[in-house]
Symmetry: C2
Subunit: 124 residues, 2 copies
DNA sequence: GTTATACTTAGTCTATTAGCTAACTGTCAA
DNA sequence: TTGACAGTTAGCTAATAGACTAAGTATAAC
């Protein structure tokens, strides 16, 4: 039951659900892109993602200085499908999808520079 | 997303999950039986059940002074099946099932009398 | 009616959790 | 090898949530 509870708790947060919803669309997101999406500090985003990873909802992949997240392939199909259905057509998440398009149009390098206060992303 | 979050939060508690697991076996439980199962005060059990009802996980039926709870018939089938699979064969819940057998062997009247401190349940 | 009683609501306390800043770790580039 | 930097961890604060007791509501028995 602990595993189940851990998964439910990991999903019981608006920001974490937003990330999961984004990963249904994006397949893979860099940590700095998640910071941008949620508009929280890197530390906060890192904690959220740590919870999702430990619960087995998402998995991470490290590439140099960057960490990429995607939905965990071993996630139960029934849970996966329920979530997908629930998060589809949520008006509130529409704004996230638009924002996400802008975010992924920047390379992570540019995005990270932007987060340091430098204006550099060509599409903005 | 609020409804989804509400359901996830309602399920993100050990005691509430125990009740849901019990309702997979029992089909219907009286409030006093839930008090007995969780070993909490009536007020605490009532608050837990209120959350589950409001989230659409369980539904309640009032019969005189008693309130009976069952899994909400409109609960999403995918969520239902995931939960059922997750809660099946959980060693920790085996003790609950044994306890539950004893609990339902008492009529609610007897159980409530017992909760007032009188020893009366014939099977105990 | 009046009283007992099954459950709910209100108020309080404590524990958990989301957010922040600051310090730390590991990787890349000069 | 030194500095810059992406991400994590630690420590703090404020808000949320679970537990209790006590008071309130509604139903049944006398």
């Amino acid at each position: 039951m602990n595993k189940t509870l851990e998964q439910l708790k990991a999903l019981s947060d608006r920001n974490r659900l937003r990330v999961v919803a984004a990963l249904f669309h994006m397949d893979e997101l860099c940590a700095c892109q998640i910071v941008e999406l949620l508009e929280v500090t890197g530390a906060t985003a890192s904690r959220h993602m740590g919870l999702l990873v430990r619960a087995g909802i998402v998995e991470s992949r490290k590439e140099g200085r960057w960490v990429y997240y995607r939905l965990d392939a071993s996630l139960d199909a029934r849970l996966f499908q329920w979530l997908e259905a629930e998060l589809k057509n949520v008006a509130e998440l529409e704004a996230d999808r638009i924002l996400l398009k802008e975010i992924v149009s920047c390379a992570p390098e540019d995005l990270c520079r932007k987060q340091r206060g430098e204006e550099c992303c060509p599409n903005k």
